[in-house]
Symmetry: none
Subunit: 527 residues, 2 copies
């Protein structure tokens, strides 16, 4: 089944999603999200606007070496040529051509007032800009999609011109024209009518790009598909400017589960929940528990009244099997959920737990208890494996005993703050007292800890802390809240993530640091 | 215009909304929310289930004395009589009758499998339960609405029976039958078809009650209205079990603004944003910034590209006038911003910069330079305003001079970490040396700083740090990276966000803390 041909699932998390207030993605973040999207099986990943800002240019450069996409194709976003220049002479068009992306998605004006006010050119020149740019990029061997900006509003104002823009792009060789509800004010029946008219009148291949300003982005997208669109744009977790874009996972789940239309490779929808949460870890935007399909509350039931009926026939109380999107039914007072996934996770890590129901129950119970305290194991496999090893082997893997630690951060006006940490611990029978400095308290602690352990275990010299993420849970309590820290450590060959939690950000970081070194030492001692 | 008669806006925040995971409302909370809902002008407020739990019973008791509703009518929610007893003899029905509510909303089964499995009775007895209970309450002088639970699923399984339940209730005197998508699996076209059939076939007055499991609760509600429903149920902020109920404010805004159908008293929609936020304060669920119509980001614009066009004609870039729902257009100052957006932003904060091109260029330059270092002003209006004041007034507003600060965090095995901060500063000519403790380093610093300044400026006693966010920038460098901290401070009346940046997380936090207090002091000294 040629999903890239017959129906496009087009993700714009890295471009339009990144327009969300407060969301700021580094190049490494973008590469990491692109890998998740490829695992999900989307057809197209819009990576950004090369040439418009250095970060996006670098993303496309690094993507050529570092992204090994199995399924998705990378799309570069950019504008049609400027008025009055040849497409071949426009440096921004050149940046698209040279991006290395097989697909270019060109944004074009289709609303006459926007042409006049924002582009400050004539309606005729705008058509020429569309035609020239599409033809130029096609001639250079790229596939071209057109994003018709403000299309629905433009169609209302001047239907003929809006349609003319689409026809021009299509005739010049664009494969798809995506109708954009840029300001987000549409309702489903309106979208359906316009898409139907466009398909009937022009015969172009239609895509749809919706924003959620009326709370109808998902429904608007579905309405467009019902009216003939075969290309849907959206973002993971509905990220995007203002109220966000259409939530791509909800759109896809509705198409596959509710409407029986396969749009992802077989079986991939079952990763939706994991991927939604993994992307949220990268963006550091707390996932919405009430998010359709993938939220932690999406299949949660207050037990009691319904519990016995749920046991007899769960389908009476849920609209679908949550496993189809990788989620779980959760009874808020029961601990029945999650055992199967613990077993699966254990198998993934090389532990066959299927024969030991007590063990699975114990691990499930500890995970639930720790998650209630703020831990998360979704993104912290190494901490989960240490927990599992502790339950399987009877004791937590341990290579050193910490006696105490202390860290001081101080400053004087005009100077940068400095941090100094002292760690006291015993390793391999010897007591070490080591002081380290750093440009932050965790940096100083990491340095002192590594120095101390390194005398007994020289292999830690290879370990390096490569990522550090902090999230404040239980917001609304200011600096008094619970803090969760995720740390990624590498030994140069592979990397692993550990988690720490505490009221004190330093203490949470310490827990994750100790887990990170312990996991690495265990890995080397077992190898 | 008799809005209570011709079209019902029926709020169930206090009953179905309160089913949300983690949401827990006291009787005082419920009374407070009911007052907000009355101000909004909803027709009906479902207060809870009297008789089923003591809290709801008390709410209805206190509501009779303490709630002086100007517009809304109070509805009591409850079930039809149990199988095999007379309605007049059922204590739960009596609790509804005696609740003091003018309206009773009876939940009834309309799905044959639910009748058999959950009620464990016959289809005939279920009809009798509906008939008897409605007749009994009508005879006692109450208006009765019927909530047909699992209606859409039941209709699919056995259309005739589902319709029979509705007819029975209507013939017995119910004013409205609300069709409930209890499991939330419907899509708009399906809802439209079923509602249309119900209206055509039975002639009953139809209401609609949707959940957001497919991300379509708002669209489903609108589809039902288009098909003939004249009673919409929903909750403020879309609170509710699993993925939540239909967001009542989005439904109402769509009906009034988009579809030109007045459903609230004239002018009340303009309070929607304020009320959504006020209710969020009571529920203590942080408001979603991306919430349609009322979210803080709902009318925020980031792209500098658009700012010049926004100045010419804001309607080209927004789907409606935000004032119609009591919200505001907001321009985000970001590194994509150009001079036009700085000028607009200044105007928003009360500074007319249009006459001073040099000043605008200076501010734009500083913003870009600071953003390159990791600052962000998108979410930190207060830090931006301090920067603007510095450039306009020639010096940064300052109320105290810091000499030095130091914070120590330490632990011993088995103990929680503790932090102790010492701050030395001069305020109003006096030198202060203050030490404070906290369960984290920033908490300790905040405490010591506030103590020290509070001796010169007692008004800081009112300030409270209500949110603290940490973001590691430049990821891939571990604990050596740049850290950005956002802090939200309140004085009990309004709140403001400041930003700090540094290699050292403590130093970044310190910068944001100092800005937060400085902004608050400036606000009070100018007032």
């Amino acid at each position: 089944m040629d999903l890239q041909g017959s129906f496009h699932v087009y993700d714009t998390t890295l471009r339009d999603g990144a327009q969300q207030e407060g969301l700021n993605l580094s190049v490494a973040d973008k590469l990491s999200i692109a890998r998740q999207l490829d695992e999900l099986g989307v057809g197209y990943i819009e990576g950004g606007w090369p040439g418009a800002n250095p970060k996006d240019t670098e993303f496309f450069r690094r993507a050529q070496d570092e992204l090994d996409l199995k399924h998705a194709r990378l799309a570069a976003f950019g504008a049609t040529r400027r008025a009055g220049v040849r497409a071949a002479d426009d440096p921004l068009v050149a940046a698209l051509r040279d991006s290395g992306a097989g697909v270019v998605t060109l944004v074009a004006k289709s609303h006459e007032r926007h042409v006049e006010l924002a582009l400050r050119t004539t309606l005729e020149e705008n058509l020429a800009m569309v035609r020239d740019t599409v033809e130029h990029l096609r001639a250079e061997g790229q596939q071209v999609f057109l994003d018709a900006e403000h299309f629905f509003d433009g169609y209302r104002l001047n239907r003929d011109y809006a349609l003319e823009v689409l026809r021009t792009a299509y005739d010049a060789g664009a494969s798809v024209v995506a109708l954009c509800d840029t300001n987000g004010g549409m309702l489903p029946t309106w979208v359906a009518d316009v898409v139907h008219d466009v398909v009937e009148t022009t015969g172009v291949r239609v895509g749809i790009h919706c924003h959620n300003d009326t709370g109808c982005a998902v429904a608007n997208t579905l309405a467009a598909v019902a009216a003939g669109a075969t290309h849907v744009q959206g973002t993971v977790n509905g990220y995007g400017e203002r109220t966000g874009n259409a939530d791509l996972l909800a759109v896809v789940a509705n198409l596959e589960v509710k409407l029986g239309r396969q749009v992802l490779p077989t079986g991939r929808l079952g990763d939706a929940t994991r991927i939604a949460h993994a992307v949220a870890e990268v963006t550091n935007v707390p996932p919405a528990s009430r998010q359709p399909y993938v939220g932690t509350s999406a299949f949660a039931h207050k037990a009691g009244l319904h519990a016995s009926a749920i046991k007899v026939d769960p389908d009476l109380y849920q609209h679908m099997d949550p496993a189809d999107v990788g989620n779980d039914m959760r009874l808020l007072v029961s601990d029945m959920a999650g055992r199967a996934s613990i077993e699966l996770k254990g198998r993934e890590l090389g532990y066959d737990l299927s024969g030991d129901r007590d063990l699975v129950a114990r691990v499930t119970g500890r995970v639930k208890e720790m998650e209630a305290r703020g831990f998360t194991f979704e993104a912290a496999d190494a901490s989960f494996e240490l927990l599992l090893a502790e339950e399987v082997e009877g004791a937590r893997p341990s290579y050193f005993d910490v006696e105490s630690w202390r860290v001081i951060t101080e400053t004087r006006p005009g100077d940068e703050a400095v941090s100094e940490a002292t760690v006291k611990l015993r390793a391999d029978g010897v007591r070490y007292v080591v002081t380290g400095e750093g440009n932050g308290p965790v940096n100083a602690l990491d340095f002192a800890l590594r120095e101390a352990i390194g005398q007994a275990y020289p292999e830690v010299a290879k370990f390096e802390l490569i990522d550090y993420k902090v999230r404040i849970l239980d917001q609304g309590h200011g600096t008094d809240a619970i803090t969760r820290v995720l740390i990624e450590t590498t030994d140069g060959q592979s990397s692993w993530v550990t988690v720490g939690v505490g009221h004190n950000v330093i203490e949470a970081s310490w827990g994750a640091l100790v887990d990170g070194l312990t996991f690495g030492l265990r890995k080397h001692h077992r190898a």
